[in-house]
Symmetry: C2
Subunit: 342 residues, 2 copies
């Protein structure tokens, strides 16, 4: 017995008024007596009235929902970013539509098309790869968070850390502990060969500043087709096999760092002494590891706040003061660089 859903017309009939009045009352538009208001509200309540969202969106061509595109909600860093964004959007009266793209371009464009059809009011594109999948011909506000790539021009903004400074600080931390042979491990982006070299730049600039020569053999980049932890483990295992000595690892991501640390331990390397490791994200992976992994707090809450604010401004049709918002970060040293505990 499909309980036919109750509409404002049903309520209007029961209250002996017109649908227009019901609509006005329900949306507090004013222009009705207190008596009718109360009568209508009571009836709406007892009938379990729920506004039909499709009708409303059709009429207003606004859905009050934002799409969140993210490569992997099962990665603690991204899921926390998603949660932070979602929470702030909810406060602002927007629902979030979370889409897991698995970094698959095909799935991404499929989603985007779907989202345009669904008339989302905006898109938050989290942690994307270089190319933006969002066709700018769709005139939608888009915020990129933690996106290393470049930007289109229309109604888009960008919130991230300063990637060059990020890897510089990570490398600097290792150097300050005396490391001279520092590997760079990445599984989700090809930092060395890619068009966006900001991550690579910080690393190499730091080395150069300290007069350390760059060694391509220490650039470890995976095909990122598998779980990042395992992949990182393989990469560093391979490095150990070559016999090339190294005393530090800059891991682009906490999961990467975790894979590195676990492999080093398993191979009998004293992590924090023989080899120091620093990750990036300050996510659960670095915290639960033993030894605890040094990492970088990237202030995801702040990213979320800036991103949501910018998005709301764009939706409101306002200009932004800044289209490239940089959020500060800070190194968090733990056992894998300090060498204590473990």
């Amino acid at each position: 017995m499909p309980k036919r859903t109750v509409s404002i017309y049903d309520i209007a009939k029961l209250a002996g008024v017109s649908a227009a009045t019901v609509s006005n009352v329900l949306n507090d538009k004013g222009g009705f007596s207190k008596a009718t208001k109360e009568r209508i509200l009571a009836i709406a309540h007892e009938q379990g009235y729920v506004a039909n969202f499709a009708a409303k969106s059709l009429r207003e061509s606004s859905t009050k929902t934002i799409a969140l595109l993210t490569p992997d909600v099962s990665n603690d860093f991204f899921s926390n970013l998603v949660l932070a964004v979602e929470g702030r959007l909810r406060t602002a009266g927007y629902a979030s539509y979370i889409c897991n793209t698995a970094s698959d371009p095909e799935r991404e464009s499929h989603y985007v098309r779907d989202l345009v059809a669904k008339q989302v009011d905006g898109i938050v594109y989290i942690g994307g790869a270089t190319r933006s999948p969002i066709d700018v011909t769709f005139d939608l506000p888009v915020i990129h968070i933690d996106h290393t790539g470049s930007l289109g021009t229309k109604r888009e903004a960008h919130v991230s850390n300063d990637f060059t400074s990020l890897t510089n600080d990570m490398t600097e931390t290792l150097v300050s502990h005396g490391c001279r042979n520092i590997a760079l491990v990445s599984v989700s982006a090809t930092v060395y060969q890619s068009e966006d070299r900001s991550l690579y730049a910080g690393y190499s600039q730091c080395l150069a500043r300290h007069g350390i020569s760059f060694d391509e053999d220490l650039m470890l980049e995976g095909p990122h087709k598998q779980a990042s932890i395992d992949e990182a483990a393989e990469l560093v295992g391979g490095l150990l096999d070559t016999g090339r000595p190294f005393d530090g690892v800059v891991a682009l991501g906490d999961r990467v760092a975790l894979g590195v640390v676990n492999t080093l331990k398993r191979r009998g390397v004293n992590v924090g002494h023989d080899v120091r490791v620093i990750g990036m994200d300050d996510s659960i992976y670095s915290r639960i590891s033993t030894p605890a992994i040094s990492t970088v707090n990237r202030h995801t809450d702040e990213m979320a706040a800036h991103g949501v604010n910018a998005l709301l401004s764009l939706i409101a049709g306002e200009e932004l003061a800044e289209y490239h918002i940089i959020v500060p970060h800070e190194v968090v040293e733990r056992a894998t660089t300090l060498g204590i505990g473990g």
Copy 2:
């Protein structure tokens, strides 16, 4: 310049046909010549036509989207369940609307109301607490996955492991290694004092079968207000403080197990020898721990498959062969019970 969105009327005009024909072509309803079809398709494509979803849903009162309610997407177990469900739904032509409830009843009912308004075609309620927040007066198909509580009656189904068997097998594993003083640690459900005692039952039945007396001091349950890992750490730390000897821990969740293992290590306990620990979920937390944590594989993919099938049947208005689907599980022994490595 808000690029006015193109509708079937625009296309109809351009093609010199009626909107009805355009609709028929776009939905492959038949009853049009090959020539018109091609003309319409070409124009639709070049105009970048995207069907207005709100109008479609309003007309069809179906949105082809399913809501996924889950307490915590940042928990690897849940996020993988979510991903598995989402993937299968996508294959079946449904979009997923992922909602993070943080186990907050208020947020849950807010979401549910919102979802009813949005006319989702069904709800998958993952890992919920005892009481279902879904008011049965909303005549929506609902699937509960990994939900320990009881069920309403209308258009609902339940997919989970056999919880009693689950804790029984966990406890049995510890007993088989000689453990006699086995603590039960839980932070997300009050298994001992709650109305649903199935998790507790497996534990106590196993003890009874082996003639081990039950000791209430070994029942550790947190207020689950904070991160489960930290909370578990505190609980087991408290147990150590009491001096009550114990040699095994049944941890209801891998995050719980991880908190337990880390604390035991930190307090100098030889995990896997002095105290054996078994978790539950076979998620990333047990795999990345050192020592690796014994756990239970709960076959989440199978849960997702059953859940989605059942949901699709309910949406189609079919009866289900089984409204309480039980998915098998299996113990995965690793270092924390085998005592190797670590």
